[in-house]
């Protein structure tokens, strides 16, 4: 199960392009070159204010290792990062700081609103807490939870990766206009479904596949 970000089709198939083969080649380079590199090297900028920050640190730690997504370098400088993770409640004193950090980040940049407080104010419907940073900042992925479980955070990173994969190499301005997100549950993946019968990988995995599921 997972989130699926459906975008207006930017992946080219041979039939869409009636002009040149060059367009097709450039599109392949975009999808399997540039976007592949981008999505596998997302450097997060953890804007960690509160409890979600601790859960983010747990995701970056050994058990739920974030480094395997290429996010080893948690750059705390907005100039050097491309994924702003707003983790925790944002209060009215902090919001201008957050906005300034966002504008300081270089294109292309994406924003994850992590947790209930950043997405909507959460438990804190008070005078001080901004009821959702998306009122003042563009957000790409919202993570529910208070705090979101580490698995949710990893799913959010993977959702950003899916967005990045479908992204065109355009400026944020143009990106913003066409972006529509539809959340659908992805089909359930069975273990070993992608392994070709008789291949070396399948033979290697057979002991795992044959094992009884653990209680």
């Amino acid at each position: 199960m997972g989130l699926s970000a459906t975008l207006p089709t930017a992946v080219a198939t041979r039939g869409d392009y009636t002009t040149t083969r060059l367009d097709y080649v450039v599109d392949m380079i975009r999808k399997y070159g540039i976007n592949w590199a981008r999505k596998n090297s997302l450097w997060p900028m953890p804007f960690a204010t509160a409890c979600c920050g601790i859960e983010f640190m747990a995701v970056a730690a050994s058990r739920y290792d974030l480094a395997r997504f290429g996010s080893e370098a948690c750059r705390f400088s907005p100039r050097q990062s491309d994924l702003l993770i707003v983790a925790g409640r944002v209060v009215m004193k902090m919001l201008p700081v957050l906005q300034r950090i966002y504008t300081q980040m270089a294109e292309p940049k994406w924003v994850i609103s992590m947790g209930a407080c950043a997405s909507s104010g959460g438990v804190f419907d008070t005078y001080a807490v901004v009821q959702g940073i998306d009122q003042f900042l563009p957000v790409d992925v919202y993570l529910p939870g208070c705090p979101p479980r580490p698995e949710t955070i990893l799913e959010g990173i993977m959702a950003i990766q899916r967005i990045v994969a479908e992204d065109g190499v355009r400026s944020s301005r143009e990106r913003g206009r066409g972006l529509r997100l539809v959340v659908q549950p992805a089909p359930v993946v069975t273990l070993g479904a992608g392994l070709r019968e008789g291949s070396l990988a399948e033979r290697a995995c057979r002991p795992v596949l044959d094992r009884e599921p653990a209680e």
């Binding site: 009215m92 919001l95 906005q99 966002y102 504008t103 008070t126 005078y127 001080a128 003042f136 944020s172």
Partner: protein, 177 residues
């Protein structure tokens, strides 16, 4: 009992203030909670506090907490604000609470930062959230709320969700960022 000795010492030193120790709470079955408070008038606070800290029978070396309370809607309250000093004695291992009552307009209480340095920030917080000024504080300015706010949020007449301060920001969009 150490607390009774301390209160007796305070009563002996300040007979004109007529200290009567009241329990903070009395349970329905009649017993009291064992936590006692004394009412101190604002103008005598510094003398009482200094005595409480220094006298060997009281020795309240530490100011544990400094809180403000707005008794606006409280049943039976006569004054609006109270500043509550939680005193802790490490040598005798007991506590005492002092309450100083003040009213609108312009509530002012002398600052005890000269006696307990740890009162600096709690007093700023009480000023920020209630509007009670502390005379003699080295740096009395807002600590928790943003600089431009004019209200005092923890007063009872200030609504929980505020008066729109949390929405008064400009919007950053993908086009402008």
């Amino acid at each position: 009992m150490a607390t009774a000795d301390a209160i007796a010492a305070l009563q002996a030193r300040f007979p004109e203030l007529h200290f009567t120790p009241l329990p903070l709470l009395r349970y329905p079955d009649g017993r009291d909670s064992g936590q006692y408070w004394l009412r101190v008038p604002a103008e005598r606070l510094l003398e009482v506090a200094r005595f409480a800290r220094d006298d060997p029978r009281t020795r309240f070396e530490q100011l544990c907490d400094l809180a403000g309370v707005d008794y606006l809607n409280f049943p039976g309250a006569r004054e609006r604000f109270a500043v509550i000093y939680s005193l802790l004695s490490l040598t005798h291992n007991h506590r005492l609470w002092l309450k100083v009552f003040v009213n609108d307009p312009d509530p002012v209480v002398p600052s005890v930062t000269g006696i307990w340095r740890g009162a600096e920030w709690p007093e700023r917080e009480v000023f920020d959230l209630f509007g009670i000024r502390f005379a003699g504080h080295p740096d009395l300015r807002r600590i928790l709320c943003p600089e431009g706010i004019t209200d005092h949020p923890l007063r009872k007449d200030y609504p929980l969700r505020g008066r729109g301060e949390r929405e008064a920001f400009s919007v950053v969009t993908r086009e402008t960022a």
